[in-house]
């Protein structure tokens, strides 16, 4: 197959996934572009067996302080998610889960402060199938809805236990309604700043009054948990008027309702926000920056088109994402490597490119903290400040140092894998540049790398030399500025 088709598939897998393992690349290279995109978006056709491989030989390792407990220990939950990013055969599902985690950015620490560490992990990351009370943590909800209807995602997030703690909805009482969730659902989750007024925030707080939490399951049993309930006694029942239309007829007022019927207020508002053209454009621009390019402002033609697709499909994210991945803007070769990688993207891609056997994800979790990204701990409800913000000097050092750690860990595997490709320093370099799939490097940079391979004595290709130089080269390449782009 022509190299240009390969470049396109690699681009697709860097963006719609986290780069490509050798087996993934092999698999997708055999497909046409449309087949590849359809395979990615129709991921429910691919069995989801990845968690069953955790701890098995041949896969990246995990290190747990005690039995591996991703449903109650946040460090283990972080490792489980990274494991999925490396080994899942549903890469787009994991990528969209990350997108939504950043979009509905919820921080573990506040929840742990309110409910304790094991419970907070449960509400962030437990799988319903492993929880005695069938609690489905927020990330599992987002994963289940990764390409669902956006309106349904909004309703799910508005009734999510972790979110009700994070943005204080559990305390929203009718006497003096609480504005935190109402503000952020308009500012950050849907329309964006500038498209609502302060009185809209106050009205929204009243709309969601009574959207609280209650205990469920037998008291003192492990199944006991907090879950959403609509509390009619705490719902403020008078009419609420907004500056934007709530109903199809253009009406801006949610009518006064009996308390028993008051949950409909919130559903009406969520429907209005999901159907807003401002939401459509806000999401389209955000998808552009995440999937297409960070160089320059979002292309207005893309934003218009994707916003229209979003509205016409009645907010169906699967339809939207298929359109994004087949858009001319996405497929344009100028979009290749046009995004600053997030730390999690850098780490997972490096593992896929360099190798993982014998490497523990625990050391990746720690390193990612120094790079500025801790999963389940976004800095605030706006999510991570992506783009150049990732590339402070300290964070860049942390990336170079992760590359060093991984290269040191993989030195024996690397030396073995380059055998036969290392007759000369140039051959070794060219082989590793291919394996790490960097954009084309400037000649001056390639010359520095070649000089490095020659720097400490004549080339013999001995095992010791291959171990030192292939590890050193992997460190320099994965730590290079070019490799930080996806």
């Amino acid at each position: 197959m022509a190299r240009s088709a390969d470049l396109q598939i690699e681009h697709l897998l860097r963006r719609a996934g986290f780069g490509a393992r050798p087996d993934e690349l092999e698999n997708y290279r055999a497909m046409s572009l449309v087949q590849a995109v359809d395979t990615l978006v129709n991921y429910t056709l691919v069995p989801d067996t990845v968690d069953g491989h955790i701890g098995k030989p041949g896969y990246v390792g995990i290190t747990s302080n005690g039995p591996f407990s991703p449903q109650s220990n946040i460090a283990d939950a972080r490792q489980r998610w990274l494991f999925r990013m490396v080994h899942s055969d549903r890469p787009l599902q994991e990528k969209m889960t990350l997108f939504w985690h950043n979009h509905f950015a919820t921080g573990y620490n506040k929840i742990a402060g309110a409910l304790g560490a094991p419970e907070a992990t449960r509400y962030m990351a437990a799988k319903a199938s492993e929880d005695p009370g069938h609690v489905r943590g927020q990330i599992e909800m987002l994963r289940d809805n990764a390409l669902a209807n956006f309106r349904d995602i909004l309703l799910n997030i508005a009734t999510d236990t972790a979110m009700l703690v994070w943005l204080d909805g559990r305390d929203n009482k009718k006497a003096k309604p609480q504005e935190n969730f109402a503000r952020e659902i308009m500012e950050l989750f849907t329309m964006g700043v500038g498209h609502y007024t302060e009185p809209d925030v106050y009205a929204g707080a009243r709309v969601f009054s009574g959207w609280n939490l209650q205990g469920a399951g037998a008291v003192n049993a492990t199944a006991r948990h907090q879950e959403f309930y609509y509390n009619p006694d705490q719902h403020e029942t008078t009419a609420k008027t907004f500056s934007f239309p709530i109903y199809g007829d253009g009406s801006r007022t949610i009518p006064a309702r009996a308390a028993s019927q008051g949950m409909q207020d919130g559903i009406d508002l969520i429907n209005a926000l999901a159907g807003s053209r401002n939401t459509a454009r806000y999401l389209a621009a955000k998808l552009y920056r995440f999937f297409v390019s960070e160089l320059g402002d979002p292309d207005p033609a893309f934003v218009n088109h994707i916003a229209t697709v979003y509205l016409q499909s009645r907010y169906d994210m699967k339809t939207v994402m298929r359109e994004v991945l087949l858009s001319t803007q996405f497929l344009d070769s100028r979009a290749y490597f046009a995004r600053y990688s997030w730390p999690v993207e850098f780490v997972v891609r490096a593992l896929k490119d360099v190798g993982w056997t014998g490497f523990s994800l625990n050391s990746a979790v720690a390193a990612m903290g120094n790079m500025g990204q801790i999963l389940f701990e976004p800095p605030d409800v706006a999510g991570w400040d992506a783009g150049q913000t990732w590339f402070s000097t300290g964070a860049m050092l942390a990336r170079m140092n992760f590359a060093a750690t991984l290269a040191a860990n993989q030195r024996f595997n690397l030396a073995k894998s380059v055998k036969g490709y290392a007759q000369t320093p140039e051959a070794l370099l060219s082989h590793l540049l291919g394996a790490l799939a960097t954009p084309t490097l400037d000649n001056a940079v390639v010359a520095e790398l070649a000089n490095y391979v020659r720097a400490t004595g004549a080339w013999t290709g001995s095992d010791a030399q291959l171990q030192a130089k292939s590890a050193g080269l992997v460190h320099l390449i994965a730590g290079s500025p070019e490799y930080q782009f996806v």
Partner: protein, 421 residues
């Protein structure tokens, strides 16, 4: 919302020119000879500080009627006298060290700082305080603009950001500010050892000298690598700093410990940025409860600033230092139904340092609910600003940094009554 921030590019080739500052021994020599430099520390209180719980108008009956469960009792505040409008004020009871600094005349409290039609959004609000521009909050940071104005050659450590990622306030056109969250982790590792590791590091340094100036996004990352290599050795010196006091083991405490180390080692930094979060107290604010949420915020603030102040005093660096705080907004005057407070408007800024003229600046809000009350806005729901926050910045720029506030801030915001420096 953050389009410009994400796509913003440091301009020009100048940003990538290697700039070596004076070597360590020259810096030490200069200090030994009594040369002084002026340090500015900017502290961001993330989330919107409820200044009515920090600086309490304890004789205002409306303060108690509007905050039935979260007011600080009059008997518990640390009284610091009255302002020019004769409102009696007291600090939060946990701020004992700040009270002592206030009593020494080295802490200024500027009341009702903000701007007209203040944003209640965390993110827009932070952008506005960072750029000092309420009309276009997507440009460069005001500290970044100051750093751009420092005459060359610019020390690679002219700014020091103690957080992991670049805050908007430090974004500059030509100057890159290193982010050094943990001085001990700020080192370069290698998979090899000995000579092999040394040649590898040399290769890494040489690679990032080939800056592709025609590709600004890539060049930006080259600049980050360069900045890291230029600053590694001097930051390692800071890691050896032995403070004269024990700093609290909080993020803020440890960040200020590193700042003091940077000053003591005379690495040439002019602007340090530190932050502490958790001020978004919508519920269970627990102002009075030991280990309650706002009480803990005050503990973190007090203990870190107290240690910093005393350490600098012992090291003879206090007169060289000014610390200024900001937060994106104050909070609603009336408490909400969750025993917390929602987003509000004007707030209090603090200025601390050895040459600061301490005291109360500006006047406190009168908290009655009369919609015509001129000290309030939003139907008497929020505190209305009296001092434009840019006037505080202007005083800092003109009076401390010795630069021109009109060009840095893009206008004349000087206010004669702000005589804290």
């Amino acid at each position: 919302m953050k389009v410009t921030r994400r796509t913003f590019v440091r301009g020009g080739v100048a940003a990538f020119t290697v700039t070596f500052a004076a070597p360590d021994f020259l810096c030490d020599l200069a200090r030994a000879q009594g040369a002084h430099t002026r340090n500015l520390v900017v502290l961001y209180l993330g989330g919107g500080n409820d200044s009515l719980s920090m600086l309490v108008p304890y004789n205002d009956p409306s303060y108690y009627s509007r905050r039935p469960t979260i007011a600080v009792p009059a008997g518990r505040v640390l009284q610091i006298g009255s302002d020019s409008s004769r409102v009696a004020l007291g600090l939060h009871p946990r701020l004992t060290d700040l009270k002592a600094i206030f009593d020494q005349g080295r802490l200024a409290l500027v009341q009702r700082t903000g701007y007209n039609n203040q944003s209640r959004s965390h993110f827009q609000g932070t952008d506005i305080w960072s750029t000092a521009d309420p009309n276009n909050s997507q440009g460069l940071g005001w500290l970044g603009r100051y750093l751009d104005s420092v005459p060359p050659p610019v020390n690679a450590l002219v700014g020091w950001n103690t957080t992991g990622s670049m805050p908007h306030v430090l974004q500059a056109a030509t100057v890159g500010v290193p982010a050094i969250a943990d001085v001990r982790a700020y080192a370069f590792a290698s998979p090899n050892v000995g000579n092999e590791a040394a040649v590898e590091k040399a290769a890494a340094v040489r690679i990032c000298s080939h800056v592709p100036v025609d590709r600004p996004a890539l060049a930006f990352v080259y600049g980050s690598s360069q900045g890291a290599f230029e600053t590694l050795d001097r930051v390692a010196a800071v890691a050896n700093y032995a403070p004269s006091v024990v700093y609290p083991n909080t993020g803020l405490g440890q960040a200020l410990r590193a700042v003091a180390g940077g000053m003591a080692k005379a690495i040439g930094t002019k602007v340090f940025y530190v932050t502490t979060g958790g001020f978004d107290t919508h519920s269970a604010q627990n102002v009075n409860l030991i280990n309650g949420s706002y009480y803990n915020l005050m503990a973190t603030l007090n203990d870190a600033l107290g240690a910093f102040y005393n350490d600098l005093k012992n090291q003879g660096l206090l007169d060289d230092t000014m610390l200024v705080t900001f937060s994106e907004f104050g909070r609603r005057i009336s408490e909400n139904g969750s025993a917390g407070t929602d987003h509000g408007a004007a707030s209090v800024m603090m200025v601390m340092g050895g040459r600061v003229n301490g005291g109360l600046y500006g006047t406190a809000p009168v908290l009655n609910t009369d919609p015509a009350n001129p000290t309030l806005e939003n139907n008497a729901g929020d505190v209305h600003y009296e001092t434009d926050f840019r006037s505080v910045y202007a005083r800092v720029v003109d009076g401390w940094l010795g630069a021109d506030s009109k060009s840095i801030l893009g206008g004349d915001f000087r206010k004669a009554t702000l005589t804290f420096i």
